[in-house]
């Protein structure tokens, strides 16, 4: 114990070379590892999306076999959800939460190292299925039984193992964040003093703890169904494939909030900064986040309106789903009220944050449309659903991650990115992403099914427009990569607080946050001075 304290107290700089990254227990190092891993996965998953959009550029089968197309849609979904968005938020949480609560590091640094280093192996196992006999899983990211049990390729067992590992990593990450927030928070910081990113992550952690084990249970049942003669989802043995959908969506619906709540947190930091006003309705934001988290557990069957359900069930799940719009609306109005009569400037993070509010709301509204049970009969499994969840996940979750990258990059590197290029990148991305996803609403309403490599002629024009938007959006990541690397290598040194209106303990650190920060906890005066809300 004493040696451990002496060790963490020494203000030594990080180890040199590769072993620094393998052995590191420093939250900043691990945060960077998570972010780079997520970034790599975005590029891999994005490349798969490009293949999908190339095939859909014209009607007919041109480039790839339908089976490979199915592998692409499946792996694109899995990689983006479990490999990109979730690890990116854990990375942001790792980097920012200890600095925001005035803690020297995460509460469980060794477990932190472990939960990161599981990820590349899980991702590797998942990607290796492409090179196996029978190919990668091709049953969609929702892996409904019996497609994923009776009719799936042998590589599915590797997919199951990868999901187990990813779930293990997420649960450990969640436990670590709960422990950090509750245990390591500066003694002078009360719960209602915490910045919203910390709040949203704390609540997300509880969602992870509740939902990921259920996913682990579902894939374990798949595993035993496939290999050990059980029949959870096999009607022959008294099981029921519909049960799979219930278990999956009991995980799946909280999962979508796992991917969006931290985004709400990020935006709640950026908008007050560039509106130069305290966040409007701080406590209502906290309660709204908690209500969304609670509601997310009791609405899962709205994904299953067409699976078959008593009318009473449909009504309940429909109304409960509508109810989520209330706390979400509270959040949107709070962001708008924060900007109201503020002294706004439009640096890159703010542009991303404002477009997040606007575009996420489009995704939210199409979600409401899908939640209407009778209307869902028309929308179910069409491109409308694809448009909906890409608006909430790309222009929602991913948007906030990019916004966060620009907003905190100066604190991570001590240098400023190229604002002109960042603005070009923003407009490039925001226009192309709408060209990409907006026409998909029309395709869906007209009846084009999702997960199909071919389509009838009347869908040709919108698909071509969508594909062109897709290629342009994909190319925007080249510029994004350049801006980030250019900032790390050649950025101009910044002040400790590069944004005039920024509040938060992290901005009291050195311009490039020192390797070990807050070895002594911040004082009450400092916490009050740096509070987001008055």
């Amino acid at each position: 114990m004493t040696t451990a304290i002496a060790h963490t107290d020494g203000h030594h700089s990080p180890e040199k070379g590769l072993m620094r990254w393998i052995k590191t227990t420093n939250h900043k190092d691990i945060g960077s590892l998570y972010l780079w891993f997520a970034f790599t996965m975005v590029l891999i998953g994005g490349a798969m999306a490009m293949v999908i959009r190339m095939e859909l550029f014209q009607p007919g089968i041109q480039l790839i076999e339908p089976q490979f197309f199915n592998q692409m849609t499946t792996m694109h979904g899995l990689i983006m959800v479990f490999g990109a968005i979730m690890p990116a938020f854990v990375g942001l949480g790792n980097w920012l939460i200890p600095m925001m609560v005035g803690a020297p590091d995460m509460a469980l640094p060794r477990m932190n190292n472990w939960s990161f280093w599981i990820l590349p192996f899980a991702g590797g196992i998942l990607l290796s299925t492409f090179f196996m006999e029978g190919g990668a899983p091709a049953f969609g990211w929702t892996f409904y039984a019996p497609l994923s049990t009776t009719f799936a390729p042998d590589s599915t067992d590797f997919f199951i193992f990868a999901v187990h590992l990813l779930g293990f990593s997420s649960i450990m990450g969640a436990i670590n964040i709960i422990a950090t927030v509750l245990n390591m928070r500066a003694p002078e910081m009360k719960l209602m003093d915490m910045p919203l990113f910390v709040w949203t992550w704390l609540i997300t952690s509880f969602l992870l703890i509740g939902a990921m084990p259920v996913l682990a249970g579902a894939v374990t049942m798949m595993l035993t169904d496939r290999n050990f003669g059980t029949a959870f989802f096999d009607a022959t043995g008294g099981g029921d494939p519909v049960l799979f959908q219930h278990i999956f969506w009991f995980f799946g619906h909280p999962e979508v909030y796992i991917m969006i709540l931290p985004a709400f947190g990020v935006v709640s930091h950026i908008i007050p900064t560039f509106a130069r006003k305290p966040l409007f309705g701080y406590s209502s934001m906290v309660y709204a986040t908690a209500s969304i988290a609670f509601l997310s557990y009791i609405v899962w069957a709205h994904h299953m309106f067409l699976t078959g359900m008593p009318v009473a069930g449909e009504l309940y799940f429909m109304y409960a789903t509508m109810l989520i719009a209330v706390p979400t609306g509270v959040k949107v109005f709070n962001w708008v009220s924060t900007m109201w009569r503020g002294s706004m400037t439009f640096e890159a993070p703010m542009l991303w944050a404002i477009s997040f509010v606007f575009l996420f709301m489009i995704g939210g509204f199409s979600g409401l449309m899908l939640g209407i049970a009778p209307a869902d009969i028309q929308y179910h499994d069409t491109y409308f659903v694809v448009a909906h969840f890409h608006y909430v996940l790309v222009t929602g979750a991913l948007w906030s991650i990019i916004a966060a990258t620009f907003y905190w990059l100066p604190k991570w590197t001590g240098k400023m990115y190229n604002e002109t290029l960042a603005k070009v990148h923003f407009w490039w991305a925001v226009i192309s992403v709408n060209v990409l996803f907006f026409p998909q609403h029309f395709l869906g309403l007209a009846g084009m099914p999702r997960r199909i490599p071919d389509y009838s002629l009347q869908f040709a024009d919108f698909n071509m427009i969508s594909s062109i938007g897709g290629f342009a959006f994909g190319a925007s990541f080249i510029l994004f990569t350049y801006i980030v690397i250019d900032c790390i290598r050649n950025g101009k040194p910044t002040d400790a607080r590069p944004w005039e209106g920024a509040k938060g303990l992290e901005w009291t650190l050195e311009p490039k946050a020192q390797y070990h920060s807050f070895n002594t906890p911040p004082t009450r005066a400092l916490i009050e001075q740096e509070s987001q809300h008055s």
Partner: protein, 177 residues
């Protein structure tokens, strides 16, 4: 040290809960299996039919008639011809009826199968009770054998008055052992 002071906030009890919660949620996924089974049995959700163990007597309304249609399906690759002996029956709720399904194995191998029933509409399933059914056990079909398999059932009078037609379908799956 300040760091040591702030370390006391999480109690041992909370740690235990933090570790136990994911483990419990893992088993909750398994708990959903029986919960779902009970839910289906009570509501008749998913067309699951019930069972009665003896010929109970019900209050019978002779004027009420329900048309029951019988359907049969086999999963892809199931080599047994399978169908109902009569395709429809007029049924008075509360009375027991007997009918049968005929199956013929068209191969020179022994085939083992399991029939899974489903009743539509959903609201009727809970009141469709079977005393005897070939779906209670797995069935063994000898090479080129034709068998008649009996079914004895009752529709309980509590069935919603608005339901006039009920259909019962069986789907045969191949078992490997």
């Amino acid at each position: 040290m300040a760091k040591m002071e702030s370390k006391k906030k999480i109690t041992k009890k909370f740690w235990t809960k933090l570790i136990l919660a994911p483990i419990l949620m893992f088993f909750f996924a398994y708990a959903m299996v029986p919960i779902y089974g009970v839910f289906c049995e009570i509501t008749g959700f998913n067309g699951a039919t019930g069972r009665v163990d003896s010929e109970q007597t019900y209050v019978v309304d002779e004027t009420r008639k329900i048309e029951v249609s019988f359907f049969a399906m086999t999963m892809n690759g199931f080599p047994v011809q399978f169908g109902p002996k009569v395709s429809t029956m007029e049924v008075i709720p509360g009375k027991f009826y007997t009918t049968s399904y005929i199956a013929k194995n068209n191969t020179d191998e022994i085939v083992i199968g399991q029939a899974v029933p489903s009743v539509a509409p959903t609201g009727a399933a809970a009141y469709f009770k079977k005393l005897e059914c070939f779906c209670f056990n797995k069935q063994v079909f000898k090479p080129y054998e034709q068998v008649e398999m009996t079914l004895r059932f009752v529709i309980e009078p509590e069935l919603d008055e608005r339901i006039k037609d009920v259909s019962l379908s069986y789907n045969f799956f191949k078992l490997n052992s």
